[in-house]
Symmetry: C2
Subunit: 349 residues, 2 copies
DNA sequence: TTGAAAGCGCTAACAA
DNA sequence: TTGTTAGCGCTTTCAA
């Protein structure tokens, strides 16, 4: 603040060269500059504690070296570790490549133009879009215009660059079915306007259908992003005439709320009701009993998306425009598979 | 990308005025501009889909309308909901005041100049610093220079603007003591270089000392940011000759790891070992048994810090440069207070 | 009430 | 190998 910062002009004067030379040296331009001159410039810059003015540089060079991270339904940021992880790995990648990150939290689609103005004002070079929503009309337009943009997640758009993970919902539900369950409930972890909550719901239905099981709509509950909503949803499920024998929870937070409800009803997990979550939050292995869940490659998604975007900005076309990462169903104790195993062993031995 | 954006010059031409007038109208400058002219300018801007170039505006106006959020020990971002909450509320405040947020994650103090270059390059107008570290030498300097900066947390520096919360460690530990515990263990939730982990440890020692209890160093364990470390620390505590009767965990994630270990040892919570956490993460009310913990005003801290910084940037001096927010000890079941109550009731009735 | 003109600090084509 | 020069698109003082 206080002390006025040096300009490239002053550096040039001190080094006895022109501003052009200063610019070339500091930007490592391929112009042949003698080692000696280069040394002198570097020295002068250091002595004056010179750091180029970002705004001036952006204006002149027409690039900002800044990435925008657009977070849809940002309220989930408070509880959804997936978002934080993507942010974390994106800041890492950005640092490695000397980029900055502007976070643009989008609250509701009504006012979704905040992130648009970021590109219109040319304040960023490219965008990472987290939890993209299919009902967002701006996104496809941006993509069609060829604006550098990588999705973490997926929308139906052929030309979109994206890094998503394979849904393991089917695996999770099928696993429950293989354990003998037919009355499998589902609790969403957000209103279904939230795209990935919706997709989990749809995949749940599909898995059931594939197994020839009639999805009973009475076994579906809609949670929000709180554990409390999982708790309440489970209570309502337990109050019904025909109880589920298993629950596929939209995420781990919901699962933990549900487990608490089951426990309070005096029922055992997994003997009376089996449960599987999603996300593998840090505490999942330590719930009582340990929660079977699906591990999601959040960090890797953030990293790959960042790298893809930066590659795009450098004018390279990424080898694979759409990257699908694997997910992993982690079988712990809440689903009852291990229990089933040990019973089986007992019978066999 | 594709289509070239309109400049203020074109807007001026279309509206039949000068660029000055366009600038005045769009920035609501107090120059008396006729309603009619203003209308025409607005109309032209709209027709051309004009959005001022951010870099040019920054360069000319000498302000960026961008805030920097510096996150120390950013690896915690993945698991520490406190950070995400502050980020969330800061993006909210920023949006309300038409500011952007650049997130600068600081990994280790060695390379802490990344956020410094943000201010040197004048890429931001002010800084919010999350989890400031006392051993960071740059921070005091920045503050002394009068750079607009608000801490979320605290360091020992008289002139610093900050929003922190009252430690409730003492309350938590004292509560455990009042329940009759003397062998109270502590597990940190991060290496003690992490300032707030260290402060929790120190306050734990102080609370014990105040109650005339000799802090037994053998009852202290150092966790990292994982639940796993809490699990392991608890196991090591349980393996010792003299077991603790209560645990004050550095945060809820640690607490949940510890609870799992206690459970696996066949011990009951809180009857055999009582436990109190810190942070009140979303699942805390739903652990088995529900976790007693301390609720922290993360969202409010982010909001107040943001508002304070923006006020500072507007040249106003905030009424209170240092704001301390209250925290709340939430007594649920893991600490045994309710159990004690009910036993008491039984005796009395 | 509006316009002319001088920067803001840098990059980069072109010339030397 | 280095310097001259012309912008980049906007704000803002000053004059009209």
């Amino acid at each position: 603040m206080s002390r006025k910062r040096a300009t490239s002009h002053e550096v040039a004067k001190r080094a006895g060269v022109s501003r052009t030379t200063v610019s070339f040296v500091l930007n490592n331009v391929e112009a042949n500059i003698s080692k000696e001159t280069r040394q002198r410039v570097l020295q002068a810059a250091k002595e004056l504690d010179y750091v180029p003015d970002a705004a001036a540089r952006m204006l002149a060079s027409r690039q900002t070296r800044t990435l925008g991270l657009v977070i849809f339904d940002a309220i989930h940021l408070q509880v959804d570790a997936f978002i934080s992880k993507v942010l974390y790995s994106l800041t890492e990648v950005s640092r490695e490549h000397d980029f900055r990150v502007i976070v643009e939290a989008v609250e509701d689609l009504g006012r979704d133009d905040a992130y648009l103005s970021l590109v219109q004002a040319k304040q960023i070079d490219g965008l990472i879009v987290l939890n993209p929503r299919s009902d967002d009309s701006q996104l496809p337009r941006l993509i069609d215009e060829g604006f550098p943009l990588v999705l973490v997640g997926k929308i139906k758009h052929p030309g979109a660059y994206c890094v998503y993970h394979k849904s393991a919902v089917r695996e999770a539900v099928t696993h429950l079915i293989s354990l003998g369950h037919e009355r499998i409930a589902h609790i969403t972890y957000a209103p279904i306007a939230y795209r990935s909550a919706d997709s989990r719901l749809r995949n749940y239905r599909r898995a059931l259908a594939e197994a020839g099981i009639n999805a009973d709509e009475k076994l579906i509950r809609y949670g929000n992003y709180t554990a409390q909503s999982g708790y309440e949803a489970m209570n309502s499920l337990l109050a019904a005439k025909l109880r589920p024998t298993a629950v596929f929870a939209g995420n781990d937070t919901i699962a933990i709320g549900a487990m608490s409800a089951i426990h309070r009803h005096g029922l055992r997990i997994p003997e009376d009701i089996a449960i599987v979550g999603y996300d593998d939050i840090p505490v999942a292995p330590f719930t009582i009993p340990p929660l079977s869940t699906v591990r999601t490659p959040a960090l890797m998604q953030g990293r790959l998306a960042g790298e893809m975007l930066i590659k795009l900005l450098q004018g390279e076309k990424p080898a694979r425009p759409q990257i699908m990462l694997e997910t992993e169903l982690l079988i712990r104790e809440s689903c009852g598979a291990k229990l089933a195993d040990s019973q089986l062993n007992r019978v066999l031995s």
